[in-house]
Amino acid sequence: MINFTINDLEVSGEDGWTILEVAREHAIDIPTLCHHGAVEPSGACRLCMVEVSDGRRSREVASCVYPIREGIKVATDTDRIKNLRRWVLQKLVDEHPGSERLLALAKTYGVTPSRFKSSDYENFCILCGLCVRACDEVAGVGSLSFGNRGVNKEVTTSYHEPSPECIGCGICLYVCPTEAMARFYAQVRVGGIFASGAGESAALRSRP
């Protein structure tokens, strides 16, 4: 049993749990975007940052991937963390000003798009990688992956073509925290598992 505190509340957990997991168990709110219970956490969105102090120094960590340790003091609502959270959200909404879901989330933390916002209202993907992880870990298919690097990084399929591996389960749609996958989905799926058999699809389409 590992004992530590979150916002001065005495809590405990088992080896391997993360700060986020324990905080949620005690109804302490930490916002997340790239976290989903079905897949392994990746710490991509940096929205779940908390302040961890081990007595000597304190620093900000991503609570969804940070394993709990004996005696640490976790704070989720210091000014530093609130500021950090606002900045993360500010950058997200500035880069993706078209996403209603992101805007709604940001608004609950008092963040609105600044005057430096992107002019690309069609860019919804925050590259959190949830769809990529879910396609791999939950569906066991792996038809989605990250392509390119740096500012050109994107979620895509092999050769940027509809993926014959895609089984059309729609798990990527379910986990996507923005509107991105709903728009991209048509470019992923060919037509279910019959993709390779043109005869079958044609047969079904001949239905009255």
Binding site: G37, A182, I193
Partner: protein, 809 residues
């Protein structure tokens, strides 16, 4: 509830997402009161570390073997819970998730009491379903014996070599006895491949010399039966039939080429096709001079033209090497991509091979000694001199061997003449299990290199299966169809409509033969089980009994103006859950019941639901434009719903009380509109009034659904995988439908008569009066029932016979 079942319910609050909308404490108290429920608890986040730990701890402490979770989507989360509970020997079928978040909390605007009531109904449905579960443990395959390589295609030899390299035995069914035999005939299936012959000869020599490769006589195949790891192939023999057994089957089928159009041009041996050329090359008989290859597949598709151009290019290389006096030129359509590199082109020029494109829109003209064509770049007419003109060979129909195998194996031809095979098995969590592998150009037109690669890949798939079997991992899927051999009449309907290969081929032409299931290829779609006229088939771990128990439990807690909505995992459920994610809302009067495929819903489930309190049933499946994941499940459901509509009409009810809808994964708005529209229909009709008379009629309708005769007639209309058209398009559709209605009317009346007689013996006028029908209509059915021994004529009274139920019926 099965005696040994011990069920626990775990409710997830999901922070405030569920806990904030539903009264979970009240729900816990309600559910905990049922004797079937051994444990009920509330957790803030079940899917997170602390929640999972609590779940496994409780399950272990209380010795649970059924776990019902009131949480979120089973599509997404079941895998994680199953992994957590695996050490306790609780497998996925023993776990059920009721999606309180996306099916209730996030999509309805009602207050906590209404939502809690609905949650209790859906959860009790889960209790009912898990209670009826008879857990079955997946079986392991026995993977023994050689790989049977049928069809005689060249890819089979490549497969045999790959198998031999990995220490696996194979048996090739071919008439060839040495590499020369194979190469002699190869130009019929892969014309213009002589450049490969040297390598190929070495490969074939290795195959023929290998001790792991046996050759079997190439006799007509009579039957292929069996399942993964254990196949039997029956061969016709001069002295009766012989049988070969093996672990897997590779079908190496090649398309044969037919003569080109050279005969229409005349020229007396100076105009030949690629096949003739290959024969001349083999016999070393080439006249010197200019040889022009004209790639002339005007009517053929692009792929055939490309292959023909490649054959011409390779043949010209052989020509310059072996016949010094010959000057080859290839004239190819400009829209075809030649398989040559820049370096090849330079080499070709050095060796004197001409490569010219022609404008395919303007047909070249053949004259004696000259071929006229239009250059696509400068648009000028050119002429090219020839001493021998070679035109393309034409890919023909699959050979006789293919036709023969088609009759015994689930292989179907597509519109374009290529082939597909029946078995498909692909699901989340499950890699395809294929032990019947099709290779070669019959599958899709290809060149020799690709065919050999396909053979190699096929061998690797078999080796993958073998390795899996050795590790003890080659297990049947969790949901599997099974046939009760005592009930099975051997009608073969399941085998006809099975698309995954899960219903095994049995020996044809031997009368009624009970079917076997192939546990390793079954995809659990379940339309075969729902179609079985004798109800001899069951989906293990997902049986109709479980679904029935679930529906009964839910219906008993539903109100009159509420509807039951069956949603398929791939269409309706996904869309409904997406509606929740996107913040849409719909009426809480819709109770979602998730099924793997709508096709797995037995028609008796529909009639049972109406009998037990449903006022309206909505079925939301995948749209026909985005093909059904389980074959033709939606198509089959269409016919079952149609049958239910007919029965509703016979009961004097509105046909509109049941409706089939189509919704794709990413169409949450469509799902919401669908439920709204159906609720409007129900509002117009009002709840189903359950008078005593109406109940009797519904009971008769339910009994009618169970009749093998009705189910057989229904089975006729279900689409077979080999059928290209929707069977509703049959030219005698109306006649068929009327015959079906006649059968239905008769059986429905028979069911009502039996219902009337359940109260005690009656005479014909009394029966007619009880049913409100004319005596003239009743008496033929009475005679029918008497003949089938479902009724007995007890005695005569007042000049009338007195009928009673036969003891067995």
């Amino acid at each position: 509830m099965k005696d040994d079942a011990k069920l626990g319910i775990f409710l997830c609050a999901c922070g405030e997402k569920i806990g904030g909308r539903l009264n979970l404490a009240e729900l816990k108290e309600q559910l905990g009161r049922y004797p079937d429920v051994s444990h009920c608890s509330i957790h803030s986040y079940l899917c997170q570390g602390p929640g999972l730990a609590a779940l496994t701890r409780e399950a272990q402490d209380r010795g649970l073997n059924r776990v019902l979770l009131g949480a979120c989507s089973d599509r997404i989360m079941k895998k994680k819970f199953a992994a957590a509970l695996k050490p306790l020997d609780i497998t996925a079928p023993q776990i059920d998730l009721i999606n309180l978040k996306d099916h209730i909390a996030a999509v309805h605007e009602d207050g906590a009491p209404a939502l809690t009531r609905k949650a209790a109904a859906l959860l009790m449905g889960g209790v009912g379903s898990l209670g009826m579960l008879e857990p079955y443990a997946p079986r392991l395959a026995d993977f023994q014996g050689p790989v049977l390589i049928l069809g005689g295609g060249i890819s089979g030899f490549a497969a045999a070599r790959e198998l031999a390299h990995n220490g696996m035995e194979s048996l090739i069914f071919s008439s060839a006895r040495n590499p020369g035999d194979v190469l002699k005939e190869l130009h019929r299936t892969y014309p213009g491949s002589r450049t490969y012959f040297k390598d190929l000869e070495a490969m074939l020599a290795e195959v023929f010399a290998s001790s792991l490769v046996k050759m079997a006589p190439d006799r007509p195949v009579e039957f292929v039966v069996g399942q993964v790891g254990n196949y039997r192939v029956g061969l016709q023999n001069s002295h009766g039939a012989s049988e070969m057994t093996g672990s897997a089957i590779i079908l190496a089928l090649d398309r044969e080429y037919a003569a080109g159009e050279s005969w229409t041009m005349g020229g007396g041996g100076r105009v030949i096709d690629q096949l003739d050329l290959d024969e001349r090359l083999a016999g070393k008989r080439m006249n010197p001079g200019s040889v022009v290859f004209w790639v002339n597949h005007q009517g053929q598709d692009r792929l055939a033209q490309e292959l023909s151009a490649a054959a011409a290019w390779r043949s010209s290389q052989v020509l310059v090497q072996e016949f010094p006096g010959v000057r080859p030129t290839v004239l190819y359509p400009a829209d075809v991509k030649l398989p040559v590199t820049g370096a090849d082109l330079v080499a070709a020029k050095q060796r004197g091979i001409g490569l010219y494109p022609y404008n395919p829109d303007i047909h070249p003209v053949v004259k004696s000694g000259y071929l006229h064509y239009v250059n696509p770049y400068d648009h000028l007419e050119y002429e090219i001199g020839w001493d021998t003109l070679v035109v393309s060979a034409i890919p023909g129909q699959p050979g006789a061997k293919t036709q023969e195998l088609m009759s015994v194996l689930p292989i179907f031809s597509r519109n374009d003449g290529s082939f597909k095979k029946g078995p498909i098995a692909l699901k989340p969590d499950r890699k395809p299990v294929k032990s019947l592998i099709l290779t070669g150009s019959a599958l899709k037109l290809c060149d020799l290199g690709e065919a050999l690669q396909q053979g190699k890949n096929a061998a690797r798939e078999v080796l993958h299966l073998r390795d899996k079997a050795r590790k003890g991992d080659l297990a049947s899927p969790l949901v599997l169809v099974t046939v009760d051999q005592d009930l099975c009449d051997g009608c073969g309907l399941c085998n006809e409509i099975c698309i995954c290969g899960g219903v095994e081929n049995v020996l044809p032409g031997r009368g009624a033969t009970p079917r076997n299931e192939s546990p390793y290829t079954c995809d659990g779609g379940g339309s075969c089980a729902a179609a079985c006229p004798y109800e001899a088939m069951k989906l293990l771990n997902n049986s109709a009994h479980q679904l029935e128990a679930r529906i009964r439990a839910i219906l008993s807690r539903m109100q009159d103006n509420e509807i039951l909505a069956f949603v398929c995992r791939w269409g309706g459920q996904s869309a409904a859950e997406l509606a929740a994610i996107q913040g849409l809302s719909y009426s809480s009067r819709v109770y979602l019941v998730t099924v793997n495929c709508l096709g797995s819903i037995d028609p008796t489930i529909l009639s049972m639901a109406f009998l037990n309190g449903a006022s309206g049933i909505l079925l939301a499946g995948c749209p026909p434009t985005a093909p059904c994941h389980c074959g033709y499940g939606v198509d089959h459901t269409w016919h079952r719903v149609d049958l239910m509509k007919k029965l509703l009409a016979m009961c004097g009810l509105e046909r509109k009380r049941i409706a089939l809808g189509y919704v794709d994964v990413n169409q949450p708005e469509a799902f919401v509109r669908m439920t709204d529209a159906f609720l409007d229909h129900l509002n117009d009709m009002g709840p189903l009034v359950r008078s005593e008379d109406q109940k009797k009629k519904l009971l008769a309708a339910h009994a009618t659904m169970h009749r093998p005769r009705v189910r057989s007639v229904l089975g006729v209309s279900l689409r077979r995988p080999s059928e290209k058209e929707f069977p509703g398009d049959q030219y005698n559709a109306v006649d068929f439908d009327e015959s079906m209605q006649d059968v239905l009317r008769e059986e429905y009346l028979a069911a009502r008569i039996i219902g009337a007689l359940s109260g005690g013996p009656l005479n014909p006028p009394e029966i007619a009066q009880a049913l409100g029908e004319r005596s003239a209509k009743v008496s033929p059915v009475l005679n029918e029932l008497l003949r089938d021994n479902r009724l007995i004529r007890q005695r005569w009274e007042d000049g009338y016979p007195l009928y009673a139920l036969a003891k067995s019926g």
